[in-house]
């Protein structure tokens, strides 16, 4: 899989690189083509310029030669002597830097038109040692061609010069005979060089030379080396004699260009063209090839394109890699979430099947044992427990669904914290008992009994934390709960601090980082069997935060965990009246010092006189002593589990040894249902669960001493519900039967509509006030609950259209709740229905209607 991905990545990168390379190759090739084309045109241009220079040169040479020709013709025509000829030219010669020499061929001496350097009148000139005029075959007849010497040193002034020549005939004055002579029009090369440069600025490094048919320089540019161009070429361009001879023939006979290497070993272009009107001379132009082959612009273009493509490629690559990384993370998360959900479903399947097994199995047992009432009752009790467990599971799922969609809402109402704690202890007892865990529950300063918040959520918070502590504590371990009331910073509130400590498996720091996330459960070989949804802590934290409290956890793996929940809860307006007992003497017996102290405080605050005994034997002594002195205690409160003799034994001895009828309350933090019979037999008058709340003690003591307490149990009075008539839209017969029976227990009458359509029809036909509200199932034949609700809301009768409608459905997810509310319903109760919730909902609706 991984290698396949790598292969795909490689292919994509490869394709990108191929495309980029293709573009670059194209650009380079195209640029190269353009360069070559440009280079070729530049070479042509250079050739043309050389030809132009040749024409300019030829014109110049012809012009100079023509002057020489004119002089020669005149001299020949006039039959002059050397002196006369020199005098004639001197007279007609006006250019400052040029001169003319008339040289007799027999002696190679003659006269110059200008005096020798450094003299004023020395005009004699000798070419005897110059090897220039020894052979004058190259000097053609007048007007036939340009007759020009090689560069030579002017014997009169030492300047390097060229001379245009003509053969002339002079007369020897003495003998009168004719003498062959040569007329030289001498021009300094420095003068020529001033004119003889390439005109274009781009050819600043180009140089010119002129060679004769043997390759010898007539005029030599700086870059041309050796005394012969052919030698120069051969020195730096090794080639075989045949090839070089062919090349030299080509150079001296045609116009064109070739590439050659100069003395600096740089590639040059040599342009050549014959000089017209000369005898086999060739004009040569030499320029470094790089001067013609300007590529910098193209290089910049290639560089820019390359860089651009590279940046594009890299940025795309980085972006794609980044995007892939993000996708991978998302995929990993999805995978992880999926796995978590799979695990969750697997767990759920297990968790549902277990109680379902109990329900089905126990139902079968109950059916077979219908004659045995006790056995059937026990089976039903256990079925109920299993059902409740199932409900808890489903509620958890609903809660997390609400939490995740942010639709978890509080439903505050007035409740008793005492009731809540009792409920908490009661719920915990079976597990504590099963696991044989040492359990203690201390309350502290609980002065405000009635509070106003969402009791259900508060219960959930407290139960979740406590049940976790019990769940993750091994048998024989210890779980303690501390609940205290403190003054809150929030006006009208009390601060409840709920601390649950256990000696359980604890948590790793890594787990603690994620423990509030859904579906997370601590893994430990010792707790593999622990059942749970992994949603509890997530829900708890959300709820704590929703109520505006804090949750804190301290844990050490292997040592235990302490959860602390701090909540500021509004104190209810209604509180118990001032609870004061008639003067009574109370003996509290317990081995737990804290318990003794809190009980003593509570009883004292109720106006009782309290004595304490730290064990059964001590208590017996104190009771006996009081009995003998005729001052019996009014009430004795004895803890069940004590180290020397337990509560039951103590009661038994009190009754047998002292023979007193003092009311005795047996106190326990454990489930005392198992010992109820034994306790009654031993002589206990009542039972009270730890922790000992003020109101509980007040009620119990008053009950024992024969005085009705003024306890107010607002939640247990259902008289307000009597006579209510509710319309239940339910297609399922069993469900209808259940809800109908349940509501009838509270004196509520019900009417049934088998589907939405019937429900709407019944509402249309109903008289005002016929129904207090409607419980509406959602999924029904013909017309579902949502459509029925919408139809009812559209009824003309204001009473009918505004009747409270509460969904009662197995569609229990948050989106289902929202769909119900959107359809116009006023509330939502999930199946299986909790009758307490149903009653609560009825009351809420009723109150709202009022």
């Amino acid at each position: 899989m991984e290698s396949s991905k790598s292969l795909k990545r490689f292919i994509i990168i490869f394709i990108n690189v191929v495309i980029m390379t293709g573009i670059l190759v194209f650009v380079v090739l195209y640029s190269g083509f353009k360069n070559r084309d440009s280079y070729r045109r530049q070479i042509e241009h250079f050739e043309n310029t050389t030809v132009t220079m040749e024409q300019v040169t030829a014109n110049y040479l012809e012009g100079e030669q023509r002057i020489c020709d004119v002089w020669a013709r005149y001299i020949n025509g006039k039959k002059m002597t050397v002196n006369e000829a020199a005098e004639y030219i001197r007279a007609s010669h006006v250019l400052e830097n040029t001169s003319a020499h008339v040289v007799l061929l027999d002696s190679l001496t003659g006269l110059s038109t200008r005096p020798k350097l450094g003299t004023a009148d020395e005009y004699a000139v000798s070419y005897d040692r110059l090897n220039l005029l020894n052979d004058v075959k190259w000097v053609n007849e007048i007007g036939k061609s340009i007759n020009i010497t090689r560069a030579y040193t002017n014997p009169m002034n030492g300047e390097q010069s060229l001379a245009f020549c003509n053969k002339i005939t002079l007369i020897d004055k003495e003998s009168g005979s004719e003498k062959a002579a040569v007329l030289l029009r001498v021009i300094p090369i420095s003068e020529l060089e001033k004119k003889w440069v390439f005109p274009q600025t781009e050819l600043v490094n180009a140089e010119l030379s002129m060679i004769d048919s043997n390759g010898d320089y007539i005029l030599k540019g700086y870059g041309f080396k050796n005394s012969s161009f052919f030698e120069f070429y051969k020195s730096y361009n090794p080639t075989d004699p045949e090839s070089s001879n062919k090349l030299f023939e080509k150079i001296t006979s045609s116009t064109g260009s070739v590439t050659m290497t100069d003395s600096h070993e740089q590639e040059c272009i040599l342009a050549f063209t014959p000089v017209s009107a000369t005898d086999g001379w060739t004009m040569l132009g030499l320029v470094p090839a790089k001067d013609l082959n300007v590529k910098s612009g193209d290089r910049a273009l290639v560089a820019v394109i390359s860089t651009g493509l590279l940046i594009l490629f890299l940025s795309d690559l980085v972006y794609v890699l980044y995007f892939n990384k993000r996708l991978k993370i998302a995929a990993r998360r999805a995978e992880s979430a999926n796995k978590a959900k799979t695990d969750f479903l697997s767990t759920m399947s297990h968790d549902i099947r277990t109680p379902m097994n109990a329900i089905i199995g126990l139902t079968a047992i109950a059916e077979k044992n219908t004659a045995d009432e006790e056995s059937t009752k026990e089976s039903l009790r256990k079925i109920s427990l299993a059902g409740n467990h199932l409900l808890t599971l489903i509620n958890d799922i609903l809660d997390i669904s609400k939490v995740e969609s942010g639709k978890l809402k509080l439903s505050p109402l007035t409740f008793s914290i005492v009731e809540t704690v009792e409920n908490l202890v009661n719920i915990s007892q079976p597990m504590i008992k099963e696991k044989n865990i040492e359990f203690s529950f201390h309350i502290n300063q609980i002065e405000t009994e009635y509070l106003y918040t969402d009791q259900l959520r508060l219960n959930q918070i407290y139960i979740n934390i406590l049940s976790n502590a019990i769940k993750y504590t091994e048998p024989g371990g210890k779980v303690s709960v501390d609940l205290r009331e403190e003054k809150s910073d929030v006006p009208g509130c009390v601060r409840l601090t709920y601390v649950v400590s256990d000696t359980g498996i604890g948590m790793t720091p890594e787990f603690m980082e994620n423990m509030y996330k859904p579906f997370s459960r601590q893994v430990d070989s010792r707790v593999n069997s622990i059942q749970g949804t992994g949603l509890g802590l997530a829900i708890t934290k959300q709820m704590v935060e929703l109520i505006g409290g804090t949750i804190d956890c301290q844990s050490e793996q292997g040592k235990g965990t302490t959860f602390t929940v701090v909540l500021d809860i509004t104190a209810a307006d209604r509180q118990r009246d001032d609870m004061q007992l008639d003067p009574v003497d109370v003996l509290v017996v317990d081995d737990d010092e804290t318990m003794l102290a809190t009980a003593a405080d509570t009883l004292s605050s109720l106006g009782a006189t309290v004595e304490q005994a730290r064990g059964g034997l001590e208590a017996l002594g104190m009771i006996e002593h009081r009995h003998q002195s005729g001052r019996d205690y009014n009430v004795i409160i004895i803890d069940w589990k004590m180290p020397d003799i337990d509560g039951l034994e103590t009661i038994r001895r009190i009754r047998s040894e002292i023979e007193t009828k003092i009311p005795i309350l047996l106190v326990s933090a454990y489930d005392w249902s198992d010992i109820e019979d034994k306790a009654k037999a031993a002589g206990a008058n009542g039972f009270v669960s730890k922790p000992l709340f003020k109101s509980t003690l007040y009620d119990k003591i008053n009950a024992l001493i024969g005085k009705e307490s003024a306890s107010v149990e607002p939640e247990d009075d259902y008289s307000d519900l009597k006579g209510l008539n509710i319309l239940v839209a339910e297609d399922n017969d069993i469900n209808w039967e259940i809800i109908s029976a349940m509501l009838s227990m509270f004196g509520i009458t019900t009417e049934r509509a088998e589907n939405g359509r019937i429900c709407v029809d019944m509402m249309k036909a109903a008289e005002k006030g016929s129904y207090a509200l409607i419980f509406m199932d959602v999924q029904m034949p013909e017309m579902n609950g949502l459509d029925a609700t919408r139809a009812i809301r559209k009824l003309e009768d204001p009473w009918a259209s505004s009747i409270p409608i509460v969904a009662m459905t197995a569609d229990a997810f948050s989106e289902n709740v929202m769909a119900c509310l959107d359809a116009g319903m006023n509330g939502h109760i999930a199946k299986p229905v909790d009758i307490k919730l149903v009653i609560k909902e009825i009351r809420r609706i009723k109150e709202d209607r009022v």
Partner: protein, 432 residues
């Protein structure tokens, strides 16, 4: 452990010693490296005038100079009829910055201008490393100034085909006896011409080349003889007798085939091409001729077909060994009126060093004027000649005219046109 410690101590000591011994040497090298004294961006044309048609070795050298002064440009100009024209050129519009000069022009009115225009190169302010040049060929004027410094030197000797010597198991001779033996040995092995040379004209003929150094060794310490020879006194002819007799003896002892030698048309290219045929173990010639060998290797079909190693050695005409006739070949002067005098001097300061002179001489194929001749293997044998046997004709002071008499006499005796007695008697009257 102790061993390791000892080794590390030894290595450390060696390193310290090595560093100590290396540092001064490095310092010395750095000190000798050329450091530009002018603005390196200076732009100018340095005109150098001479009699050579072209001077590629100088161009190459100038390119090395261009590494320091990239904008300085060399313009070399060949002057026609150089010796006669240079005076005029120096006074004209085309006056060069540096020019060829020759010490034989000292004291001659005709060449006065060439000497007068020259800067005194012995001036310490110029910082020329004159010590690298053999003192024999640094020739000052009578008033102690140094108008020119040699950039090439010349001598006479013979090209030796090393392959033939190796093939025949013979050693290059260092004394006259050895020379005779080697010649005979080659003859015996079937070599028709163990030694050859140009004999068509007296100029740098085989006779001059062989006898010239020998002659100077016979008169070097005899000031009276030099005086007499220079005065063209007829009796001075006797001073030539030993040398002329040696010529006769040499041609006989070494079986020199004059007829074959006569077939060599000139004293330069023809000599080289004949030698490149590969059948002549020894070929007399001057350093000037040697300078042309490299270029002509590719022009000789025989040499291309059968190339061989060769070198240039002195001809041992004496039993005591060979004499190295040390002569300045080409000298440079700086025009003191140069428009680019500073740059011209800077180039001279760059050039006049052991390394640069050796480089340029090697490129030209001529002998370097420097004391150390090992740079070019072709001339290395001359560097091994003891100082006592290195003689400079110009230091000895024999005039050109006297040398011409010797040359003529040697040629005539060698070719059999005169007897030794006739030649001796003709001293002062022999004409070219």
């Amino acid at each position: 452990m102790k061993m390791k410690k000892a080794i590390s101590l030894i290595l450390s000591a060696a390193m310290v010693l090595g560093m100590a011994s290396c540092s001064p040497a490095k310092q010395k090298t750095e000190d000798k490296a050329f450091k530009p004294a002018l603005d390196t961006s200076t732009s100018c044309d340095i005109k150098i005038a001479g009699g050579y048609d072209n001077f590629e070795a100088l161009e190459t050298e100038f390119e090395r100079f261009n590494a320091y002064y990239p904008n300085a440009k060399l313009v070399y100009t060949k002057i026609d009829d150089y010796n006669n024209m240079i005076g005029t050129v120096l006074n004209g519009n085309d006056a060069p910055d540096i020019y060829f000069n020759y010490s034989w022009m000292y004291g001659r009115d005709k060449y006065k201008s060439s000497i007068d225009h020259a800067e005194n190169l012995a001036d310490p302010a110029l910082k020329l490393d004159l010590n690298c040049i053999r003192s024999n060929i640094i020739l000052k004027t009578s008033d102690g100034t140094l108008p020119m410094v040699p950039v090439f030197s010349n001598t006479y000797g013979m090209l030796v085909n090393q392959n033939l010597f190796e093939k025949e198991g013979l050693k290059v001779p260092t004394t006259y006896q050895e020379l005779v033996k080697v010649c005979n040995a080659f003859r015996e092995k079937g070599y028709e011409n163990p030694i050859m040379g140009f004999t068509k004209k007296e100029t740098t003929s085989l006779f001059t080349l062989t006898i010239y150094p020998y002659f100077f060794s016979t008169i070097a310490k005899d000031a009276g003889a030099v005086e007499k020879l220079n005065s063209m006194d007829a009796s001075a002819g006797e001073y030539m007798r030993p040398s002329l007799e040696k010529i006769k003896q040499f041609t006989t002892d070494c079986s020199v085939d004059l007829k074959s030698c006569d077939e060599i048309k000139n004293n330069y290219e023809a000599v080289i091409l004949r030698f490149f045929k590969g059948d002549v173990p020894m070929m007399t010639c001057s350093g000037d001729t040697v300078s042309g060998t490299k270029k002509r290797e590719s022009r000789s079909e025989e040499f291309i077909a059968n190339s061989f190693k060769y070198t240039f050695v002195p001809v041992p005409m004496s039993d005591d060994g060979a004499v190295f006739a040390d002569m300045a070949n080409l000298q440079f002067s700086v025009n003191k009126d140069s428009k680019n005098l500073k740059m011209a001097n800077e180039f001279m300061r760059f050039l006049i060093t052991q390394r640069e002179l050796s480089e340029m001489a090697q490129n030209k194929g001529l002998m370097s004027p420097t004391k150390d001749l090992s740079f070019n293997s072709m001339y290395a044998a001359f560097g091994k000649v003891p100082e006592s046997r290195i003689l400079s004709p110009e230091v000895i002071g024999v005039s050109d005219d006297a040398v011409v008499q010797l040359r003529q006499a040697g040629f005539r005796v060698g070719t059999g046109k005169m007897t030794v007695d006739e030649a001796v008697a003709s001293y002062g009257k022999l004409e070219q």
